[in-house]
Assembly symmetry: C2
Homo-oligomer: 477 residues x 2
């Protein structure tokens, strides 16, 4: 009697089979499987991993008995079947992140998730020494999401070659977009797993314009193949988010129809239905389109988050609102104080904000792109904001409490009001008459929490220390 394999919920179950290694298996051989749970059938694409190895990966989302059968154009890969038992998840595993309450995020197991993102576009292309330093930095930080590219990057401060390329070929001879490089993807997968171990979501950027190798302009057929391959390899990782582009609107070779098609390809082939978004330079993609799960936005004016929230009816993640740093580029030289302000403003408008850091470095190791260590003063304050959010009710919505202060909360129970750059000596709160509240005064920059004396009800005045960047936490007693 064979022992039945046990797989923890949201871990990866992998079928590995040997098959043909002649011709070009990446394009010649189709492989997939159907996974069944009771009467539910889940189609899952497999992929060729080189050296005659074929794999089908699956992340079971229900506890209980699963069965599978493979399908393939290659007879020796076809009709293989088996079963496994999906058991309780690891204690630290909460499953993929989903949208909840229209504008918020939650893990599959119901644990609230507040994205506190950072950006290291190509940290995963820098070699083990720097990549491990980045992981150490992330471990000590409060960030629980990272924007990162599949493809390497060519841009100011980014002139080094990557360690590995996604396709067979070379810089001198060119790349064969019909033949993937399994070692490249194995390395990417290792880094995604490293992030998962730290509780960090990998907001994986599938295309971007900063390219000297041709990956930004491979043609429709190669783009489609790439998306299918990446989905087949990575959809079974719980912490993957699909970000279709960094600055899609700078990729002049792709039309809006192309982007729509990319979304649909991944939507159709991803058994886990990971989050899907697309990031702009200037004009937004229509985040209202049904395959977009949340609005990923580059914009410096966080005072518009509420508008975008209402326009698209989805969570708003301002992934890029300028970076703390001192490079000459306008998007990369705001102060820590300004970035922290933007985090609080976006939060108090009911959205989520992302971090990045661009301090000049003698070896061009800027966190925003290559990782390494953090030099700035915003991450500590962002960690402080995360603590405050995680102690607050999940799913707060914009509410009215104080004039000229953006506020989110649960009416009658809890409010978080941000006073921004203003420095009032007092404010009048419009609280319910029939309930009592406590007020805490937060200094977003100094990271202090000071209890205001007494209790508050109805139209009530709260004295304040006349400093910018204060917030009020108002909790029902």
């Amino acid at each position: 009697m064979t022992e039945i394999a046990q797989i923890r919920q949201w871990d990866m179950f992998e079928i590995e089979l040997s098959g043909p290694d002649d011709g070009n298996p990446f394009v010649d051989v189709a492989i997939s499987a159907e996974f069944r749970f009771k009467n539910r059938a889940v189609p899952v694409d497999g992929f060729y991993d080189g050296q005659g190895r074929y794999k089908v990966r699956f992340m079971p989302d229900e506890i209980g008995s699963w069965r599978f059968t493979t399908m393939s154009s290659a007879p020796q890969l076809d009709g293989q079947s088996g079963e496994f038992l999906c058991v309780e998840p690891r204690e630290t595993s909460h499953g993929p992140v989903r949208v909840t309450q229209d504008h918020h995020f939650v893990y599959a197991d119901g644990t609230p998730y507040w994205p506190i993102g950072t950006t290291c576009y190509v940290w995963n292309h820098q070699g083990d020494t720097l990549e491990e330093q980045t992981l150490t930095t992330l471990k000590e930080s409060a960030f629980n999401k990272i924007r990162m590219c599949v493809f390497p990057k060519d841009y100011d401060f980014n002139k080094n070659e990557p360690c590995l390329y996604p396709y067979e070929g070379s810089v001198d001879e060119g790349f064969d977009f019909t033949r993937f490089n399994p070692a490249f993807f194995a390395h990417l997968e290792q880094r995604i797993n490293d992030l998962q171990a730290l509780g960090i979501e990998a907001d994986l950027i599938l295309f971007h314009p900063y390219d000297r190798w041709g990956f930004s302009d491979m043609g429709a057929e190669a783009d489609n193949r790439y998306l299918r391959y990446v989905t087949a390899r990575l959809a079974s990782f719980p912490n993957v988010w699909w970000s279709f582009a960094n600055e899609y609107d700078l990729m002049k070779g792709k039309s809006l129809n192309d982007w729509d098609r990319f979304f649909r390809i991944v939507q159709e082939h991803d058994p886990a239905q990971h989050l899907r978004s697309i990031h702009n330079c200037r004009g937004f993609y229509d985040h209202g389109k049904p395959w977009v799960t949340h609005s990923s936005i580059q914009h410096a004016d966080l005072g518009r988050v509420r508008e975008w929230r209402n326009t698209y009816g989805k969570p708003v993640v301002v992934d890029e609102c300028c970076y703390e740093g001192n490079i000459p580029h306008g998007w990369g030289n705001i102060s820590a104080r300004e970035l922290v302000h933007r985090f609080w403003l976006g939060t108090a408008q009911g959205g989520y904000v992302g971090h990045g850091e661009t301090y000049c470095h003698p070896e061009d190791i800027l966190w925003w792109s290559k990782g390494g260590i953090l030099h700035g003063d915003s991450p500590t304050r962002i960690a402080f904001l995360r603590e405050i959010l995680e102690a607050a009710p999940h799913g707060m919505t914009p509410v009215e409490l104080v004039r000229n202060a953006d506020t989110i909360g649960q009416p009658g129970e809890f409010y978080l009001a941000y006073l921004g750059a203003t420095q009032p000596s007092y404010k009048v709160l419009a609280l319910p008459d029939d309930k009592e509240f406590e007020v805490e005064i937060i200094d977003a920059w100094a990271m202090t929490v000071t209890k205001a004396p007494g209790r508050y009800s109805g139209q009530t005045r709260v004295d304040l220390p006349s400093r910018p960047h204060l917030a009020l936490l108002v909790s029902r007693v």
Copy 2:
């Protein structure tokens, strides 16, 4: 042989005549005069000053011999004539301010004028002790323009009665809008003269909505009479500007047609053609209308000055961009640093910015409304900006020099670039290849000027100290 009166250019020549004091001379008796210089004839309205006294005031704008003849519906006031000699102006007198080069200001004698305004809406209604303190404060400040109301003000922190009312009557019995109070206007004129002695333009607000006495809603006939009377009394003061309203759009009793008419009445009857503008709360009046000399704007986003400059083709004065202070109101609690930033930003976009201060005070003496003393940290920095501007070429226009930094200048000669909230460690200037320039690094907050080493030409890098609120002065050697 009679001695001919000598009047200095831009001083006031006043005809005083005795006439009827029965009935209501304010409405029953018309008086005016025609002033002639060579073949030029200037019609000038007179006014009734109470106690049987009639006056016609005129500010001669040309040096030489002037003649005049009065005209009146009252026989004893009609046909009086005389002459005077207009001579060189006093050394400190430069005449009224005019628009020059589409977007700038200049005194009548050609002296450049950079408006550095402040706001004390009803300082002139507070009694001599406080009013004299305000004048002392102004004397020590860098402000050369003040926004102030003719009518008293009713608003938060403004609940006291004024010392004088513009009309006969009382709070209890109401006011007679057909009978002006000459003592009220004499006091206003004294304060305008006090400002003139300090070199300060009186940006006189003719209507405003913050009223409990009825002056904001007197009806069309009384509004017209008021404008004629004010023009007749005050057009001969060199430092008067006509601001038709503070927040015209909050005066629901007046239509756009009313505002148009007000402009035209004053335009037709003002022999000196003083500057004319109108200030909004939210939506702008169309500053493109021909009777508007410059755009007077309330707006917090100084990054739009260049747009308004182009839209209206006139000077842009952002008279209200929120005030330094700590009251709860959103427009009155920005930090000194933020206000100074807005001054520089508006300046570097080719406009002019106004100051105000609203710190809570135990007796509700807030500078923005009542005057008194200044408590904030912005006036010193604004004075520093004024020094820099007055040492720069007059009439600078927006130009391109540095990416992501608003710049004004005279191409090839001089540039003032403001780096705003950014903190770059260096910037690249696009200077002409064939000329050499010196660069000074300004810290707008710390008020320091640091010469960058060496000389600069062509595409050239300037190292910077990675702090927010820096500006660059680039001067041809």
